[in-house]
Symmetry: C2
Subunit: 574 residues, 2 copies
């Protein structure tokens, strides 16, 4: 068995079934081993950026890491944005790259010469900061330990990407019969008593849970649902945790953040006990005055990453370093026999706030050109529970996250921490048997991975791409309007940047498409699109300068700095 | 004056006139300062990868660095491939990126937390290995020193990219009236006596110069021409130095390398004095047995980078650490009064070999579908001297570099060391007043930056893109044919990858285009295309599996390793 064969054999036995790749000479033996592995499917992308994003979305939607295979040098650097995104969003992923001959890359490592072999870059210093584990495999006999440790790192604790770089001469070398394995450090079993947390939630008058990406996945989300029901507690979700609770759940309050909703912001400021579960409390969740976030509440924060608990900002009363799923399980065990206080007035109040302060206003449906909030809401109502949603970065991410009514079972995938444009192409990896994927993107972001239209077409992927065509970069257009006195640059046709008609681009790539405007019957058009097999591109002619609200507004101070409004004082001001 | 204003004011005063950019919120004040700087032009690209490659090509064709402006996080990581390419190819370049608030990025730096501010990544460890200088500007008062040092690093010695990262709150801060500058370390004046080299070249029977990227640029190339004439010495060029001598020069022998030509390989093995000038002697230049490269010659190597001189491989007799231009000037000074040996038999012999062993065989013109060598040669004959050529990576780079007849004044730009696919988009930055740019690319590489069709269109750039449509990745197809028994994966429509019809894609982006096949009168079609204003896409239906030759062939040994043929024993074997 060669090193390359070992790698794919290992991954396949662990349950991985697909590899997202771009071929290249320096990954030749890796590619061939993949080609010969009958249990693995290869999906060939047209840029490593997309292959990495696809692997990221695969890792988020399965119990195993996604795999990205790329070649040396530029193949590797092209995959960096995707790996960095997986890192900050805690998504398990293997990046496999071909490398120059081991003699050449050793020399690069030893001397710091700019380059020795053609195309090669010494990747270790470059990619190590954005992966949990990096190894350049210089000895065939190391491959077992490397793969075992890489798997452990990708999947254990806070998940994330790992990167295995294999010199071309090592790829085809036989592995020894006997190889050292990796021994994961033993972990002391968790024995923290959580009964105080159970009692605190039960006894509080206005308890609230803020759930984030750490609750992602069927297991933890189901435990969360049980906790809500057991103790009758409402839930708000950060961007990373949008899909942990259905929008029609009686416990769902809303999604706080810079572009959030009033109900969840009020609930956070009114609650008296706040359980922060698997959310890192980024500024885009807490607003700009984290010290006043949930200021009336006793705050418990549960996070698997001690660094997130140590972070300054929100003053947390009790920090618990633990996996959110394990915490929920343990906590539920402490709930038996508890007599929770009557939370129904609080729950009703939260629901009432949600009803009173909708993000999608009734008048939006009549606006011309199309209002993006209206479009997104309507599409969410048309989408079935057996589809997953990939939302790209930019105004579309804010709008859709503020308006999407999530059905139970739907996964909602965004480039959260990194917020990389072009993330729609992650849809390639989100595709699962018997389900379809809706990808929602702005025209500027579609451009960043437009070459992947070819991948959708070739593989007949059941991806419906909805392009919010707002003629450029709408979020930056707002930014330049708000802070630069309308000195626009690089945001639209009047300022240096024009995106194409994506129906024409779709046609050029052999994809079916349609354009929808305010003149169309959107609902029946959406139903028709969603009933189709295979890929489809739907271009929505939306407002080019549509308001994105509610939001935490900022203004420029005399010294040039920006001052933001308070968390519960969203624009438009009440 | 704010930090952002200072940056662009500095660059503009140094002679830069264009910035290649993608806008983003975290670069908002940088963008606005650029917008308000009347001496600078902004070209908005649709992906930072292309913006960086455009800046690279700008830096190669002007006396000043190219500038790429990108935003935080994914904007920065998207620019990495372009920066790495500029680094290994010694191209001066400024990458300017927006960064998170300085408080947040400081915290990331201090703690190693995955991320603090949204979108932010601590870039220093990631990009430092591929730039000559990196600074994250945390204090406004540092900006003068940072810019002066960055400029020095980009332009001094072996050129390369520098990277300035500016937190969003610092971007708009005023700079102090008084700021420390940067003091470049004093350099002892070069006083090496080169008369031995002059005498060696003059007295040798069969002297040869191998010129590389270090001779790039009008100044050094003119000195090289004078040296050839003065001492009557033939010149071979590495890939990086293709444009330092016109193909019709009586001193031009050829372009050695893995995909080279017989004349230059024979000349290198026959010469008795080899002056290696600004070429790092990469394996793709020397072949796989560097110890036998120029084995009959006394070898002098001149390189500005001591690390290149220290590199093992070719046994060099005299290593001179010096800029190639300065060396040539000094050397010419030593030639006065020298009586060179009669080199005319050797020169005639070199020219005769060149005549005897052409790369482009007469029969190629009749082949159907089109033979890429024929196409490239013909196009080079149609191209005027006042155009520059950008050649993308892959089989096209090999084919065009083996067949292009370079006219005096033409610049020939490739992604040499990194060999990044998608480099055709660098053509955006190669555009100069009164000249046009011919970009030659394969279909697989066009895909890697296809979004830039929008940039060509919007800016009406005089770029003629010639797409060698060979249905995928031809170089990898050969590789899988030669070494994998035709187990194809990810190289064409039969193996997981299909590229579009680029005439259709061009039309979708509003670009004029045409397709040429073996049925067309190529010469008049080329002349028509080259006479057009503005951008144009020409898709050439070439052979999908056309032979790439001559080349240094390799075969797989029983132990799985590859064994290459000798440098002067090119395939097809004589």
């Amino acid at each position: 068995m060669t090193v390359s064969e070992y790698i794919f054999d290992f991954l396949q036995k662990k349950g991985c079934d697909t590899v997202y790749m771009v071929s290249g000479s320096s990954a030749m033996w890796l590619t061939d081993a993949l080609r010969r592995n009958e249990a693995l499917k290869a999906v060939c992308c047209h840029h490593e950026q997309a292959a990495a994003m696809a692997a990221d979305c695969y890792g988020r939607t399965r119990g195993v890491p996604g795999i990205c295979l790329a070649t040396i040098g530029p193949g590797a650097t092209n995959a960096i944005t995707g790996a960095a995104g997986a890192f900050v969003d805690s998504s398990p992923m293997f990046v496999l790259t071909g490398q120059a001959n081991s003699r050449l890359i050793r020399y690069e490592m030893d001397t710091g010469i700019r380059q020795h072999g053609t195309q090669s870059l010494n990747l270790e210093p470059i990619v190590s900061p954005m992966v949990k584990y990096f190894a350049c495999v210089l000895e065939p006999g190391d491959i077992r330990r490397v793969m075992e440790q890489a798997w452990h790192e990708a999947m254990d604790g806070r998940k994330g990407p790992v990167w295995i770089d294999v010199p071309v001469d090592v790829q085809n070398k036989p592995v020894p019969d006997e190889m050292e394995g990796f021994h994961a450090p033993g972990q002391a079993p968790e024995c923290m008593d959580l009964s105080a947390a159970a009692q605190g939630l039960a006894r509080a008058e206005k308890p609230l849970i803020l759930a984030g990406g750490g609750v992602r996945g069927a297991g933890a989300a189901a435990l969360l649902a049980r906790l809500c029901q057991t103790l009758q507690i409402p839930v708000a979700t950060s961007r990373g945790g949008i899909d942990v609770i259905a929008s029609d759940s009686p416990y769902f309050v809303g999604r706080p953040g810079s572009y959030g909703d009033r109900a969840s912001h009020f609930a956070i400021q009114q609650c008296d006990y706040l359980l922060i579960l698997g959310s890192r409390l980024s500024i885009s969740t807490t607003g700009y005055y984290p010290q006043r976030f949930g200021q009336n509440a006793y705050k418990v924060m549960v996070d698997i990453d001690q660094k997130e608990l140590d972070k300054p900002g929100v003053p947390v009363d009790w920090k618990i370093s633990m996996d959110a799923g394990a915490f929920l399980e343990r906590l539920l065990g402490c709930c038996a026999g508890l007599e929770p206080a009557d939370h129904s007035p609080w729950l009703s109040h939260c629901r009432e706030m949600r009803r009173q302060y909708p993000n999608v206003l009734p008048g939006y449906a009549q606006e011309r050109p199309l209002n993006s909030y209206h479009v997104s809401r309507l599409l969410s109502r048309c989408a079935s529970a057996d589809c997953d949603i990939v939302v790209d970065t930019g105004s579309v991410c804010n709008i859709v996250s503020q308006s999407w009514e999530l059905k139970e079972g739907q996964r909602y995938l965004i480039s959260g921490g990194l917020s990389a444009m072009g993330f729609w192409a992650g849809a390639i990896g989100a595709v699962r048997e018997g389900r379809q994927v809706l990808a929602l993107s702005g025209d500027g972001s579609v451009q960043m991975n437009v070459q992947e239209f070819a991948t959708l077409r070739y593989n007949r992927l059941p991806v419906k791409l909805f392009v919010f065509q707002n003629s450029g970069y709408m979020l930056i257009r707002h930014n330049q309007h708000n802070y630069m006195n309308d000195r626009f640059l690089g945001v639209g046709p009047d300022s240096g940047l024009e995106t194409p008609d994506f129906c024409k681009v779709a046609a050029a790539y052999g994809l079916d498409s349609c354009e929808l405007t305010a003149d169309d019957d959107l609902e029946s058009a959406f139903q028709e699109i969603l009933a189709k097999d295979g890929p489809f591109v739907c271009q929505l002619r939306v407002q080019e300068f549509g308001e994105i609200a509610p939001k935490i507004a900022s203004r420029v101070m005399p010294d040039g700095s920006l001052k933001a409004a308070e968390f519960d004082d969203l624009y438009p001001f009440l």
